[in-house]
């Protein structure tokens, strides 16, 4: 239980290096996504295939969300946001495959993804508003609030990581507990719920990224 709950297991060893399941399954997720991208890329036709429709629907939807939030062209942010959504969604779902664990059920993965957002916010902010313009928003409306602004930056990154990790890990833990006390088919309804919560978590992570980015990018309109 302990092994399954909070700490990643070592899957195999490459010489002195212990390869945790998290790393291996993240690579599987990446391979799945790259395969999907290649499939769509080389299948581009005027008569659209199902895969192409799925990919375009996803990107269109997230771009629509971004267009509402940024009130400008969302193109520069599409790669980051859609990649995060796709990676987290696939990672959450891969945990349902027999013998595999969701990479996001390990705090390291969730923390790494949140760190990406943590670094992307000042990157896009400075690119859109300049160094001076970006750092001035820390001093608005009054410099007295500077400590709170800095704490906000860190606490929301922590919240982003813990939210993803906690949701996915608790879902897996509940399924494991139910499997150990009740038997083979009892966790199936919960696994269906896990499909839903996994995708919703990916969506929420992407939307929160958009919210943070738009707060950093948008110049004050007054």
């Amino acid at each position: 239980m302990e092994e399954r709950g909070l700490f990643p297991q070592v899957l195999f060893r490459l010489g002195p290096v212990e390869v945790a399941g998290t790393v291996a399954y993240s690579l599987v997720v990446s391979a799945v996504l790259i395969g999907f991208a290649l499939l769509v890329r080389y299948g581009l036709r005027r008569r659209m295939s199902g895969w192409q429709v799925a990919a375009e629907f996803l990107i269109d939807h997230l771009e629509g969300v971004m267009r509402d939030m940024f009130a400008s062209d969302p193109r520069p942010y599409t790669p980051l946001v859609v990649t995060l959504a796709l990676f987290i969604g696939t990672a959450n779902l891969i945990g349902l495959a027999p013998g595999m664990r969701a990479p996001t059920a390990d705090f390291s993965t969730a923390a790494a993804l949140a760190a990406v957002v943590f670094l992307a916010v000042p990157f896009y902010g400075i690119r859109a508003r300049g160094l001076r313009g970006y750092f001035r928003h820390y001093l608005e409306p009054t410099p007295l609030l500077l400590p709170l602004e800095v704490i906000t930056e860190f606490s929301r990154t922590l919240a982003l990581a813990i939210r993803l990790f906690g949701n996915v890990m608790s879902e897996e833990l509940v399924i494991a507990v139910l499997l150990s006390i009740a038997g083979l088919l009892v966790p199936v309804p919960l696994m269906m719920l896990a499909v839903l919560t996994g995708l919703v978590q990916a969506y929420i992570f992407a939307v929160l990224t958009v919210v943070y980015l738009s707060a950093a990018v948008r110049a004050h309109q007054h």
Partner: protein
């Protein structure tokens, strides 16, 4: 009862209390949020896209409170930093 048993009992009781309190309050507030969003959608069905998106983000924020409690309970149970002081 030796100190180890008392420690285990206290930790288990605390973890149960943390999870209980940490689900009741976010549960109530999530219900309130959904209630208000439903009212808003019923009044303005055109804005349902925007309302439900904001609702999802808000629910995620509230949900993370419950998740904090769960993580703290699990740390208490499985990764307690003080458990070595009560080894048998």
């Amino acid at each position: 009862m030796d100190t180890h048993t008392i420690f285990a009992l206290v930790v288990m009781g605390t973890a149960a209390l943390v999870v209980a309190a940490g689900t009741i309050v976010p549960g109530l507030s999530q219900g309130k949020a959904i209630n208000t969003a439903m009212d808003a959608i019923a009044r303005q069905p055109d804005a349902s896209d925007r309302i439900s998106r904001t609702l999802f983000v808000g629910l995620a924020m509230i949900e993370s409170l419950a998740i904090y409690c769960l993580v703290i309970a699990l740390i208490l149970l499985f990764a307690n930093p003080f458990s070595h002081m009560f080894e048998r």
